[in-house]
C-alpha cells in the first residue's frame, strides 16, 4: 500500500516536473504595436508578418538554441498609437509577460518614450519602423531595423531637386508627432543648405487629430512652392493631398516612409497617383528572398505587404538570430536578456528582405533607402535607390 502511494507521488511529481520543463521550452517575444488608434494598419501588418514567421519556425519543430529546441511564443499588445500607452505596454510586456525581447513600437512617437523603458529595464528592444535618431541614441539596449531620418531627409531633398527641378519647397508636418517634426526640420535644414536661405517658402504644422488643413494649404499655395514635402502618416496624407487639389494646387508632392501603408491607396484614391515618397523597400519588382516574402504574405493575407510588414519580419529575424547566437539559454531572465543584448551588438551584418544592414555603435543599421512612385494602378513602383 505504502509503495503504491509512493509510486503515485513519484509519478505525480515527475509529471509536474515534466510540465515545468515543457513550459520552459518556449521563447517569449513581445510586440508593442498599434492595433487600434490612428494607424491600425501598421499594427496589423506587424502582427500578420510575425504570425507568418512564427508559423514557419514552430511548424519546423521550433527554434534551435544551443542544441535545444524551443517553441516561439509571441505576445501582442496594443499601444493604441499613443506615446503614454506605449510606455505602459512596454512595462507590462517586460515585467508581467516576462518576454526575452521586445519588437516595436513602430512609430517614433511611441518608440522614443518606450525605448527609455526598455533601456531602463535592461531588455532588448528592436523597433522595426522608427526613423527618429532619439529612439536608439545612447541607449545600448535599443536597436532598429530602419534607416534614420538624417539619412532619409537628404534622400528626399536630392530626389526632389533632381526629378522636379525644384528651387523652392514647402513643408506641412504633424507638430505632435516626433517623427514628423524631426524629419520636417531635417528636411528644411538640408534643403536650405543646398538651395540657399529662404528656399523653404512655407513651413506649416497641424495637430494629429486635425481633419481640415485648408488654412495651412492656402498659405502654402499662395507662397507658390515647386513641391510640398509631407512627412505625415498615411491617413493624414489622404486628406492633405485631396484638400490641396480642392484648393487648386496642381504641383508635386514628396512623401516619407510613413506614407507606405497598404491602406494609403484605399483612403487617397486617384488623388495620390503619380506622387513620390522615400521608403524602405519597393514591393513592385522585388527579387529573391524579398519576392518570396511578398508572394507568401500576399497569398496568405490578400494584400501586398507594406514596409512595416517587411521590417517587422527583419526585426524579428534579427532577434531570433541573436537568441541563437547566445549559444544557449539559462532560463534566468536577466542573464538571458543580457546575453541577447551582447549577441545583438556582435551581429556583423544581416541580410533581410529590406536589404543588407550593418549595425553601428548606436544600434542603427546602415542600409539603403528607395524612392517609389505611386503608379496609375496604385502600386508602389521603384524609382531610385540611394545608399549611404
Amino acid at each position: 500500500m505504502k509503495k503504491t502511494i509512493a509510486t503515485a507521488l513519484f509519478s505525480c511529481s515527475a509529471l509536474l516536473f515534466a510540465g515545468s520543463v515543457l513550459a520552459a521550452d518556449t521563447i517569449k517575444i513581445g510586440y508593442n504595436i498599434p492595433m487600434t488608434g490612428d494607424i491600425p494598419k501598421v499594427g496589423e501588418s506587424s502582427k500578420f508578418s510575425a504570425e507568418m514567421l512564427k508559423a514557419d519556425i514552430n511548424g519546423a519543430g521550433g527554434l534551435e538554441v544551443g542544441g535545444k529546441k524551443y517553441m516561439l511564443e509571441f505576445v501582442y499588445e496594443d499601444n493604441e498609437a499613443k506615446a503614454e500607452s506605449a510606455v505602459t505596454t512596454a512595462l507590462k510586456l517586460i515585467e508581467k509577460d516576462e518576454i526575452l525581447a521586445m519588437i516595436g513600437p513602430n512609430s517614433s512617437k511611441q518608440a522614443v518614450p518606450a525605448g527609455q523603458v526598455a533601456d531602463d529595464n535592461r531588455t532588448v528592444m528592436v523597433t522595426p519602423w522608427s526613423t527618429n535618431p532619439d529612439t536608439t541614441k545612447d541607449r545600448p539596449w535599443v536597436f532598429r531595423a530602419a534607416f534614420l531620418d538624417p539619412f532619409q531627409g537628404p534622400v528626399a531633398v536630392n530626389f526632389a531637386v533632381k526629378t522636379f527641378g525644384a528651387k523652392t519647397a514647402a513643408v506641412l508636418y504633424d507638430l505632435s508627432n516626433d517623427y514628423s517634426k524631426g524629419l520636417a526640420e531635417i528636411f528644411r535644414d538640408v534643403f536650405e543648405e543646398k538651395l540657399g536661405k529662404g528656399s523653404v517658402v512655407a513651413f506649416e504644422s497641424h495637430g494629429t487629430k486635425d481633419q481640415d488643413f485648408s488654412a495651412q494649404l492656402t498659405k502654402i499655395i499662395s507662397a507658390k512652392p515647386d513641391f510640398i514635402f509631407v512627412p505625415d502618416n498615411y491617413n493624414q496624407v489622404a486628406l492633405i493631398v485631396r484638400q490641396s487639389h480642392q484648393l487648386g494646387y496642381k504641383g508635386q508632392f514628396m512623401g516619407s516612409d510613413a506614407w507606405g501603408s497598404s491602406e494609403l491607396m484605399t483612403l487617397c484614391g486617384d488623388d495620390c497617383k503619380g506622387l513620390y515618397f522615400s521608403t524602405h523597400y519597393a514591393a513592385a519588382g522585388a527579387k529573391g528572398a524579398t519576392k518570396e516574402f511578398i508572394d507568401r504574405y500576399t497569398a496568405k493575407y490578400g494584400y501586398v505587404p507594406d514596409d512595416v510588414a517587411a521590417l517587422t519580419w527583419d526585426a524579428t529575424n534579427i532577434v531570433i538570430k541573436a537568441i541563437q547566437d547566445t549559444g544557449g539559454l539559462t532560463g534566468k531572465l536577466r542573464k538571458d536578456r543580457k546575453a541577447i543584448r551582447d549577441a545583438m551588438s556582435k551581429i556583423p551584418s544581416f541580410e533581410g528582405v529590406t536589404g543588407n544592414m550593418k549595425f553601428d555603435e548606436q544600434g542603427d543599421p546602415i542600409k539603403c533607402a528607395v524612392v517609389v512612385r505611386i503608379s496609375d494602378s496604385g502600386e508602389f513602383e521603384f524609382a531610385e535607390s540611394v545608399c549611404p
Binding site: S205, H206, N235, L267
Partner: protein, 303 residues
C-alpha cells in the same frame, strides 16, 4: 493678398459650418433640458458611419448613380441618426430623469454614452479607417485667384438652410412654442396639457438629425472615417455653443462660424504651431467679457 483673404473666409465658412451644425444640437437639448449632451459629437460620428453604409449600399447593391444615391442618403441618414439619438434619450437619459437624478449624473451618463458609441464602433467595425465613396463629381472653380468647389458651397448653404429651418421651428411652430415653454418651467408645462416627453423626443430627433446631416457633409468633404472622429470636433462645437450662448440657436450658429473663423485666421496670420493656443485664448477672452456667451442672457428664456 485680397484673394488669399477671401480664400481664407471661404475656408472658415466651410469649417465653421460643421461646428455650427453640431453646436445646434448641443444648444437645442440644453435649451429644453438644461442637459449638456456630451454624446452629441459621437452621434455625429455615428451619422457619418450610417451615411457611409447607406451610400455604399445604394451605390454597390442597387447600382444607382451618385446624385440619386446622395438624394436618398441624406434623408435616410438623418432619420437613422435621429433614431440613434432618440434611443439614447429613451435608454439612458429618461430613466434618470424619472428617478429625479441630479443633472450632474445625467451629464456623466452622456459622457459615458459617447464613449460607448466610440468603442462599440471600434469593436464592431475594427480600427481601420473607412474611405467614404465619392457621391458627386467635385468641380474646382477658380475666380480671380480664389478657389472653391461645388461641395464647399453646398456645405455652407446647407448649414445656413438648417439654421433657418431650426429657427423657424423653434420660433414659429407649436412644437417650438412647447420647447420654449419647457425651458421656462418644467413643472407647470405638463399641467397645460403639453406632452413633455414627446417634446423632448422631438428635440433629440431634430438635434441628432442635423448631426447626421453634418456627418454626411463631413464624410463627403473629409472622406476618411474613424471611430474617434467625433470626439474632438464635438468638444470644439460644444465650446462654440457656449461662446455663442448655450441654449440659443442663433448663438450656436454664430458661435460655430466664429470658432471656425478664429481657427482659420490664426493659421493665416500667425505660425500654425500656435493655432489652438491663440484660438482658445481669444475664446477665453470673449467668455471672460461676456460669461453667458454672445447671445446668452443670464436666467431668461433659453432656446
Amino acid at each position: 493678398m485680397l484673394a488669399t483673404t477671401i480664400q481664407n473666409i471661404i475656408n472658415a465658412l466651410q469649417w465653421g459650418s460643421f461646428y455650427a451644425l453640431i453646436a445646434l444640437g448641443y444648444t437645442m437639448v440644453y435649451g429644453v433640458l438644461t442637459l449638456i449632451n456630451f454624446a452629441h459629437g459621437d452621434i455625429f460620428m455615428v451619422g457619418a458611419y450610417i451615411a457611409f453604409f447607406v451610400a455604399t449600399f445604394i451605390l454597390s447593391m442597387l447600382g444607382l448613380p451618385g446624385w440619386i444615391a446622395l438624394a436618398l442618403t441624406i434623408p435616410l441618414t438623418m432619420i437613422l441618426t435621429s433614431a440613434v439619438g432618440v434611443s439614447l434619450e429613451r435608454v439612458a437619459y429618461r430613466p434618470l430623469r424619472r428617478k429625479g437624478a441630479h443633472r450632474l449624473y445625467v451629464v456623466i451618463t452622456a459622457l459615458m454614452c459617447g464613449l460607448i458609441l466610440e468603442h462599440a464602433n471600434l469593436a464592431l467595425l475594427g480600427a481601420s479607417r473607412k474611405a467614404f465613396p465619392a457621391l458627386i463629381t467635385e468641380h474646382v472653380y477658380t475666380i480671380g485667384g480664389v478657389t472653391f468647389t461645388n461641395l464647399k458651397v453646398a456645405v455652407i448653404f446647407t448649414a445656413i438652410l438648417s439654421f433657418v429651418i431650426l429657427h423657424w421651428i423653434v420660433t414659429k411652430t407649436k412644437v417650438g412654442m412647447a420647447m420654449r415653454a419647457i425651458s421656462y418651467d418644467k413643472f407647470a408645462v405638463p399641467l397645460m396639457g403639453i406632452p413633455i416627453d414627446s417634446i423632448i423626443v422631438i428635440t433629440f430627433a431634430l438635434g441628432s438629425g442635423f448631426a447626421g446631416l453634418a456627418g454626411i457633409l463631413f464624410a463627403m468633404s473629409y472622406p476618411v472615417l474613424e471611430p474617434y472622429m467625433g470626439a474632438l470636433i464635438g468638444w470644439k462645437a460644444f465650446i462654440a455653443a457656449v461662446v455663442g450662448g448655450i441654449g440659443d440657436i442663433r448663438g450656436a450658429f454664430l458661435g460655430g462660424f466664429l470658432l471656425g473663423a478664429v481657427e482659420i485666421m490664426v493659421v493665416a496670420f500667425f505660425p500654425s504651431t500656435y493655432r489652438d493656443l491663440i484660438a482658445f485664448t481669444v475664446l477665453l477672452v470673449i467668455l471672460s467679457l461676456k460669461p453667458t456667451g454672445l447671445f446668452g442672457i443670464a436666467k431668461t428664456t433659453k432656446i
